[in-house]
């Protein structure tokens, strides 16, 4: 009996807690609100923040963070939201409320901070310097099939640029196939290398087109360069199979035996039919002679 009472009590407590949490507001303590964002607004952090935003936030808050996702939610770009300090936003993302999940359990602190940075930049692009042009070079290894991208400043000094996100692709029939990681950052020498996977099918001679891109970068304008290499497995052509006479061939590629057989049968049968129709005229003619 006592046990039952305990269970009932716990249930009532749980329900009341649930009811309470429905109407709860975020109580952000002063020291939490004062927490400073340890991350600088750097392109690398922004890229990370954007990736996490796209993965975890877009579904509810929308592509433009205006709260118009699959469900109606808080706009993250209006003034009311942006007025809050980084610390308050950090607390809210971490603890969650109602439909907003507690991301503190899913994301690292740095990741949450980078999302906050990204949200700040969304409404104030001037927080980051305008993107610059770069020089993108592509070199290929010969012993192992590797691609090296070199990013240099576009001015005459041609200084190597580090920490630039470069994307590597192989051109396919209808689009680009990504190779390497989602993000490949250049080192201090401005270079980043990716090894080509085995057994990439090329054209009939085995040529493949390698594409290196800088895209959607906060610091640099889009840039792309490509190279053709005979690194692929040659594409086997079945043209000959389709061009020879076969059952699966086109209309004018019927097998000879079928042509002979079918047309032979048709010729014999229709010869008899034509002969019989000719006989009808002979019958008519024979009748005419009789009348005369």
């Amino acid at each position: 009996m006592a046990k039952l009472n305990t269970i009932v009590a716990i249930l009532i407590f749980a329900f009341s807690l649930g009811a309470y949490s429905q109407t709860t507001t975020w109580e952000v303590s002063a020291d939490q609100a004062a927490k400073k964002n340890p991350l600088e607004i750097l392109p690398k952090n922004l890229a990370l923040g954007r990736n996490i935003f796209k993965r975890s936030c877009v579904s509810c808050h929308g592509e433009k963070a205006d709260g118009k996702g699959l469900i109606q939610s808080t706009s993250l770009i209006d003034e009311k939201f942006q007025k809050q300090t980084d610390g308050v936003v950090f607390y809210k993302i971490s603890t969650g409320r109602d439909k907003m999940p507690p991301f503190g359990a899913m994301l690292k602190e740095d990741e949450i901070w980078s999302v906050i940075n990204y949200l700040r930049v969304l409404v104030d692009p001037s927080a980051i310097p305008p993107p610059k042009n770069v020089k993108l070079e592509l070199t290929t290894g010969e012993e192992i099939k590797s691609i090296t991208a070199t990013v240099l400043s576009a001015d005459s000094a041609k200084l190597p640029l580090s920490e630039v996100d470069v994307h590597f692709y192989v051109k396919r029939e209808f689009g680009l196939m990504r190779i390497g990681e989602m993000s490949n950052y250049t080192g201090a020498d401005g270079k980043v290398k990716v090894v080509l996977p085995e057994k990439i099918v090329g054209d009939s001679e085995g040529n493949i087109t390698l594409v290196v891109k800088i895209e959607n970068n906060f610091l640099y304008n889009d840039n792309e360069t490509m190279a053709v290499k005979k690194w692929g497995t040659p594409l086997l052509s079945h043209e000959d199979e389709f061009n020879r006479r076969a059952l699966w061939g086109a209309r004018d590629k019927s097998p000879v035996w079928l042509l002979l057989l079918a047309n032979g049968i048709i010729a014999i049968v229709w010869a008899v039919i034509v002969y019989v129709i000719y006989n009808l005229f002979r019958i008519k003619k024979a009748g005419r002679i009789f009348i005369k």
Binding site: R251, V272, I273, I277, N279, L280, I283, G287
Partner: protein
Amino acid sequence: MTDLYRKEIEIKKEQFQDLVSDLNSPLNRTGSSFKIWIGFLLLLIAMAGFMYVRQLQQGLGTTDMRDIASWGLYISDFVFLIAVSLVGSLITAILKLSNVKWVTPLTRISEIIAVAALIAALLIIVVDMGRPDRLWHIFVHGRLQSPIVWDILVVNTYLVISILLLYIPLIPDLALLRKTMGHKPKWQQKMYKILSLGWQGTEEQLRIMNLSLTALMVIIIPVALSIHTVTSWLFASTLRPGWDSTIFGPYFVSGAFMVGAATVIVTMYVIMTNYNFKAYITDKHFDLMGKLLVLTSLVYLYFNLNEFMVPAYKMKSGESAHILGLLVGEYSVLFWSVQILGMILPILLMIIKPFRKPKPLMIISVVVIIGAFLKRFLIVTPTLLHPFLPVQNYPESYHHYNPTFSEIMITVGSFAGIMLIISLFIKLFPIIPVYETAHEKGFPNEIINNS
């Protein structure tokens, strides 16, 4: 002596006149019941036509054919009609060439059934097309490697031969009609005149006619076998459970002879009772046609045993759903009804002589025909409902096929069309060959030609 001879000739002439007026009597009797019958058939055809116009406007969505069951009642009807048409070759060619004399009064019946069924079959295949306006593509873009092209070729060839085989024995009868039907409308007289080709019954004309008939009777046998074999290949040359069979050709042909014989029995019964042809279509004819139906049914039963026993014994994983669906599943009631009521029971009954009397035999034949039609449906549709490649994300209704009112009406319309062609033919031409009957009754050519 000469007087006696002359008298004998006079008697013979009179007898021949009686025979002619007897066999031509359907042409002269057009009662109100016939008009009602024609009106009824035209009404059915008009309803089918209306449904077809609706189908043209709204597309094949008016049928219950969907992605999975893309062949339904129309294709079943097509296979059924092709099967029925085979009887023309069975009676007029196979039995005639074997010197079976008693089939003479049945030759024209079977041949007009063949022609009418073929015309309906060619129409129903167009009805089954979603875009009939592209029919000509099969002639312009068709590949000789495709069984569809063979089917088109062989069905049309068979139709031409059947029309010739219907027409050529009719020529002497047309010559008689030309002489005796002076009271008929002008167009009808003109038709008899043109079609009779100035037939005088000379030795030369007879020789050419018999030569032509023999040539046609020989050539129609392989063509008839190939028409239904090719139709079966439309199924058997695909990789489908239930169709992937090497005996599909003979299986179809034997089934065709069975339903064809049953169709002839029903038609000859109707003609015999309606036009009082008891003297020409006798109990003996029914008895022998009953025996023929038993024979063809037994052959078909044997093929059925092979067709279902072998796959059911193996129960290959891909085919088991289809086999079980027929034997114990969704279609089991229909399947066993068709096999038992439409085949085994008729065989058992028809072995007993009293059941080969006209009326019971006619009733049995009607059951056989219904069974044969449903059998075609069982061949076509359940297979499609069990594709080898799994299908996903289809509405539940796509996994079943229940013909719509529109499809049923159009199919009924095809039968009405066949009956209309036969009914009108009976009113325009003697349905029992006059010349051949007279010839077999021993009337000399002079009497036949000079009456």
